[in-house]
Amino acid sequence: MSAVITHPGHAAGTRRKLPYPIGHQFHADLLCYRRNIQSVFFTILMPVLFLVILASIFRNATVNVPGGTIKESVYYVPGLIAYGLITAAFSNLALSVVRNRESGIYKRRRATPLPASVVIASRAAIAVLTALAITAVMLGIGWAAYGASIPGRTAPAFLLDVIVGAAVFCCLGFAMASLIRNVDAVQPVIWATVLPLSFISGIFIATSELPRWLADISYVFPVHPLAAALLEAYNPHTTGSGLNWGYLAILAAWGVAGLIIAVRRFNWLPRGG
């Protein structure tokens, strides 16, 4: 151990501005995320597995969608993109935020000049990036295995839906994290919210095959508008741009609600006992 301590910075008499290290933080978060290879792998693998399984089970089936019928295998692509996006932006994000908070990583950062907005923006950027990666992988599989592709005229709408969806579920992920008190509670809470909503929101079962009352319930929650918006842009029968402002408005409302809770309740300190 060296006893010589030098004293940089102040000696020069310069007073530099406080950094706003968003790129720096993102680089480190990305490194952590990439090294947590299991998490990345399964986040991307899970919707792929669901797609392959569901498309195989309902190989020859067709499903009613606005404007006509499409093969189930095609139907599942946008639905499971929505599912993967929710996993990346909501489930994984909430888990990592609670874990970082409860393990004291955020608490330590709180003692530094790091602004909260850097922590939040960097983690959200990771989620959006993962969502985009999942989308690309799923679109590739849909195209290669099931001969489905996005019509050029609806591609911009599809991309917009993905980005808005990822951003909205990030807000909800931060909000959810702020309400959960310990790491062990994250998975049960996420499963109990995401899975039932996925079943009634047209992700695993087409909305046209659901009892009416169940479908009606799903319209209130954010999973259905995301899945439906993606389906509309992905559906070959769609005419026009494929942009559905109604769905985006419902999503945005949830996003704003999530953002308000997240901002008001964001906590650096562990909440559990």
Binding site: T6, C32, S103, T112, P113
Partner: protein, 323 residues
């Protein structure tokens, strides 16, 4: 890089050499209640620039609550607190750039190496210390490429200290920094902390180890049940300097305690199996009487011992629960 030749902090035995330095931490009438229970029941503190201030107290005495108020983590119920000229409850990013914190418990970013973790934190500060040098300072150079998640407890603790130093802070809070260290690691941590003082850093240290406080601290305050029960230097704390010494010795088998001269016998507090213990505020006089008496009788007392109360004795006395 220039080695700093800043004036080392002057250390008088009473801490008087530091009176001229400005107060870095000033606390008046600090109170903190949780659900009506007072964890901190009105304390006053002053820590001056360049000193190591040790805050002792049993678990639950309010140490961490107090430290976390000073660090800006917790809000106080009442009282005035000023740290580096600012109220920590209102402090902003500029203020945080000037403090370093070792929390009692914290985990590092498991997926990063020690070096990456330090580089990340260095990026938060306007004037960070060099990463390599900071690793060297805490003795982690050989482990710089080890993932934090795979480090031993002692290595993680050293990383905690390195992370608190990376921003080159003026004031460093160390909340039980050497808990779980083996004796060698603890000694080298003490060297690091003493080295920081020589740089003119101010250190607020909480610890359970009396030896740590005695070795490092310029001043010590003892907290019990939310109140400061004693404050002073390691030598004077709780009247340690004027407290009675214990003179003890074993009499040969053929001599009984009843044979002792009356002046000595009056001080005897305890005898068992020929071992005699006597309390006195003037140990030299007592030992003189004892020596004269023993020499006259031609006996030796090979295990004669004069013991001053240790810091631990004083501490245990001070923090004893009222019965």
């Amino acid at each position: 890089m220039e080695a700093v030749s800043r004036e080392p902090a002057v250390r008088g035995p009473e801490g008087t050499g530091q009176v001229s330095r400005p107060a870095v931490i000033e606390v008046r009438g600090l109170r903190k209640s949780y659900d009506g229970l007072e964890a901190v029941a009105g304390i006053d503190l002053e820590v001056r620039g360049g000193e190591i201030f040790a805050f002792l107290g049993p678990n639950g005495a309010g140490k961490t609550t107090t430290v976390e108020i000073l660090e800006g983590y917790r809000r106080r119920t009442a009282g005035d607190v000023c740290v580096l000229g600012t109220d920590p409850a209102q402090a902003g990013r500029d203020w945080r750039a000037r403090i370093g914190v070792v929390l009692q418990e914290s985990q590092p970013e498991d997926e990063l190496t020690a070096e990456e973790c330090l580089s990340l934190y260095a990026g938060y500060y306007p004037h960070p210390r060099p990463v390599g040098e900071t690793l060297d300072l805490v003795g982690l150079t050989d482990h710089r490429n080890a993932r934090c998640g795979r480090m031993s407890g002692g290595q993680r603790r050293r990383l905690d200290v390195a992370l608190a130093l990376i921003g080159d802070p003026e004031l460093i809070f160390l909340d039980e920094p050497t808990t779980g260290f083996d004796p060698a690691a603890r000694k080298s941590a003490w060297d690091v902390i003493a080295g920081l003082r020589d740089l003119g850093k101010t250190i607020f240290l909480t610890t359970h180890y009396m030896e740590e406080a005695e070795r490092l601290a310029d001043r010590i305050a003892v907290l019990a049940a939310g109140r400061i029960v004693a404050e002073g230097t390691a030598a004077t704390l709780g009247g340690r300097d004027t407290e009675a010494s214990v003179v003890s010795f074993t009499l040969p088998p053929d001599v009984s305690a009843a044979d002792l001269p009356p002046a000595l016998a009056a001080c005897v507090t305890r005898t068992s199996n020929g071992r005699v213990e006597a309390d006195t505020r003037s140990p030299l006089r007592l030992v003189g009487i004892l020596a004269g008496w023993a020499q006259a009788r031609g006996i030796d007392l090979p295990d004669l011992d004069v013991r001053r109360p240790t810091l631990e004795d004083v501490y245990l006395q001070l923090t004893r629960e009222p019965r």
